[in-house]
Structure formats: structure tokens, C-alpha cells
Amino acid sequence: MPAYEIEIILNRQLADCLSIPVFITDIAGNLIFYNEPAEQMLAKRFEETGEMPVEEWSTIFKPLDEDGRPLAPEELPLVRTLSDEHPHHKNFQIESLKGEKLNISVTSYPIISRAGKFLGGVAIFWKRRMQ
């Protein structure tokens, strides 16, 4: 398999240095990298799982709106970024497979290469303190 473009590699190298959870996907939404803080959220290690197909990693969290109602996938920032190649941001809750709820903000942005090619998306998760 050919190597990733450097814009993807540099995003991974940056994510590796950060203390906030970062998820990197290809254009189809397959999870191609997540950093150590993201490993804590997923309760999985990248070294062990490697890349994860979209069908697998999208079921690890159940997204809920601020009132606890299920959120449609197309309302999620990263899904929107992968669809329209623009950055997005949203506050919502996630519920893990163990039923634990977490209030988060998610910022997503597209990786668009120097040549203008859309290569994938990045989602940064921020834990929110509730008032």
C-alpha cells in the first residue's frame, strides 16, 4: 500500500504531541489514527487496533443531543466535514458502550492538500464542564 500523503502524516505527528483527543479519518470515514488521549476515550489502543473501518468505530460512542436524545450521524461535525469538506463544531454528549455519559465539544476540519485534494478529516474532542 502506498504511503499516506505528507499532510496526513503531519496531522498524525501533530496529534501525537497533543494532550487533547484527536481522531484522523480518511475520506470514507475510516479511522486511520487516534492519539493517546483519544485512546482513553475509546478504551482501546491504536497499537492494538490499528486502523478501524467506519462501521466499527462509529458504534463505540452513541451521540446524544443536549437533552439526551439520539443525534443523527449527519449532525455530527466530522460526518459533516467528510460530506462538505468544511470545518464544523458542535456541543453534544456521548455515551460509551458501558453507558457512561460525557459532555463534549467536537471541532472537525478537512485535510486539504497543497494541491487542493481532499484527503480526510480530523476531529478534536474537548471535554466540557457543565454549569
Binding site: A3, I9, R12, C17
Partner: protein, 277 residues
């Protein structure tokens, strides 16, 4: 293919008795096949392509890895550019904002240089490339963007007998944990995979690199780790730091070899070195 190195110094030309053995000219190499000559980079070493080394073929292709001064400074002294009988094709990395013509013209124009790029007497053709495949003379060429500040590519040059990979400026170890040891996560991997010869940046000592992360260059260790991951057959360590004398380079390389594990054969690149593949 016949490879010849005309300049292996990094950053700035460095002349004097201390750098006489490895040479002080900045980045330039040629890859020849019969009369045809492919020129890699236009550092100060390119000035030597004159007299008996003047390329005979009507068409000459010049492949620039990037436009930092140590890779283009010799262009203004490359005789074929002033020869009306020559057809010169300059290939260089595309930027997202400015044309190759515009960027090259910043150097080849007053006050930095007396002759304008557009006034050069040769038949000049500019080609913007990125992650590209193209042909030049008898060679098939792959170019890919690599990690180095500003638009920068490396080249994989292929003929029917051999593969030569040219990546004089490269920092594949940029990041908290250095080079990621998974092939598809390594900048430049596709260029170097299985190459007969890899010419690669090895500018810094380990200690120097700790202060110069992000400047776009590698240590000998990282150059050899990169070559090892790509399973190249031989590594030419290049882009010598201008502050490194011949003696310093010899000591640095000896010290590295004592601690190096299982790596492909590596030598320090030397101006004037010729290799037949």
C-alpha cells in the same frame, strides 16, 4: 544510468581547506544516459557543468527539489540557460499560491540577479509538479511532496536498469516520537522503496538536531533508519552542514557506525563522486 555529484553541501556554499575533501558546493547532481543529462537541483555545484562537462543534448531537464537558495543559487550560472540552441525544462514543486515562474523570478531578477528569468536566451519551459509521474529523456520519474518547510519534493528516477532516489532535504522524523516505523506513515517512503541508491539529507548530529527540530533536516541515524525502512541497497549521506569540516564529518560518521545496527551500506556523499548503475 551514470550518477555524478556536483554539490553535497547544505545551506550555503562552503569553500576552504577544511571542506576540500567532501566539497563545499551546494546541492546538485546529474543522472546521465548516453548524451542525455538530467540535472537534479541548481545549487552552486551546477556551475561546474561547463567546458568538457557541458551537456551535449539539445534538451536538458532540471529537476528542483525546492526553491531554498542552496538549491537554486547556481541556476544563474548554468551556461545552457544562456545558450539559444538549448531547450531547458525546469521542473519544480507547485505552491498553493504562487507560480513556479513567479517564485523563481524572485531570485532571477534585480536586485538579486541582473538577468530576468523571462529574458534567458534558451527555450525555457517550466513545469509545476507535486505528487506526480512524468518522463524526462530516457527516465521515468516519480515526485512526491516530502516533509521540509515550504513546497518540497523528492525524486525517484528510474531507467531500465536501476532506481536512484534523490531527497537531499528531508525531515521524516519531525514529531514527538521521530520516524513512525510503519511504512505507509513515512514521508518519502514511496520514493525510496527498494532503490539501488538513496541520496538523503544527514545534516545534523543528534545533539544539533535537538535544537533544530522543524528546520527540515535529518541526522545520520534518521537518514539510515529511513533507508533501512525503505530497504534501499545503498545510502549516500548528503547535505553536509556548512559548519562541519571534513574531519568533523569523518568523526561523526565513525561514531555513528560504531553504534549503528543493521542498516544498508552507507557512505558520506562527496563532491565529484561518480556511480555507474
Amino acid at each position: 544510468m551514470k550518477i555524478k555529484l556536483w554539490g553535497v553541501r547544505g545551506s550555503i556554499a562552503t569553500t576552504g581547506p577544511d571542506t576540500e575533501f567532501y566539497g563545499g558546493n551546494t546541492s546538485c547532481a546529474t543522472v546521465a544516459y548516453g548524451d542525455y543529462v538530467l540535472v537534479l537541483d541548481g545549487g552552486t555545484g551546477i556551475r561546474q557543468l561547463t567546458g568538457s562537462f557541458y551537456p551535449a543534448a539539445k534538451r536538458i531537464d532540471v529537476l528542483l527539489t525546492h526553491l531554498h537558495l542552496d538549491h537554486i543559487q547556481g541556476l544563474g550560472f548554468f551556461s545552457p540557460l544562456f545558450d539559444v540552441t538549448k531547450e531547458i525544462h525546469i521542473w519544480g514543486p507547485a505552491s498553493s499560491s504562487q507560480s513556479l515562474f513567479s517564485r523563481l523570478s524572485r531570485y532571477l531578477s534585480p536586485p538579486l540577479f541582473p538577468v530576468l528569468l523571462r529574458d534567458l536566451p534558451c527555450k525555457l519551459h517550466l513545469h509545476e509538479i507535486g505528487n506526480s509521474q512524468f518522463e524526462a529523456g530516457p527516465f521515468k520519474i516519480l515526485s512526491n511532496y516530502i516533509i521540509h518547510p515550504g513546497p518540497t519534493v523528492g525524486y525517484r528516477i528510474i531507467d531500465k536498469n536501476a532506481v536512484f532516489t534523490f531527497i537531499p532535504d528531508h525531515e521524516p522524523a519531525l514529531g514527538e516520537k521521530g520516524i513512525i516505523k510503519e511504512k505507509k506513515w513515512v514521508s518519502g517512503y514511496d520514493l525510496a522503496e527498494g532503490a539501488d541508491i538513496l541520496l538523503h539529507d544527514s545534516q545534523y548530529t543528534e545533539e544539533e538536531y535537538t535544537h533544530r527540530k522543524g528546520w527540515g533536516h535529518s541526522t545520520i541515524n534518521d537518514a539510515c533508519l529511513f533507508g533501512s525502512l525503505a530497504e534501499v541497497k545503498k545510502i549516500l549521506l548528503a547535505h553536509h552542514d556548512p559548519s562541519h569540516s571534513d574531519t568533523f564529518l569523518d568523526d561523526m560518521f565513525s561514531s555513528f557506525k560504531k553504534s549503528a545496527g543493521d542498516i544498508p551500506p552507507a557512505v558520506l556523499a562527496k563532491e565529484g563522486l561518480e556511480i555507474d548503475l
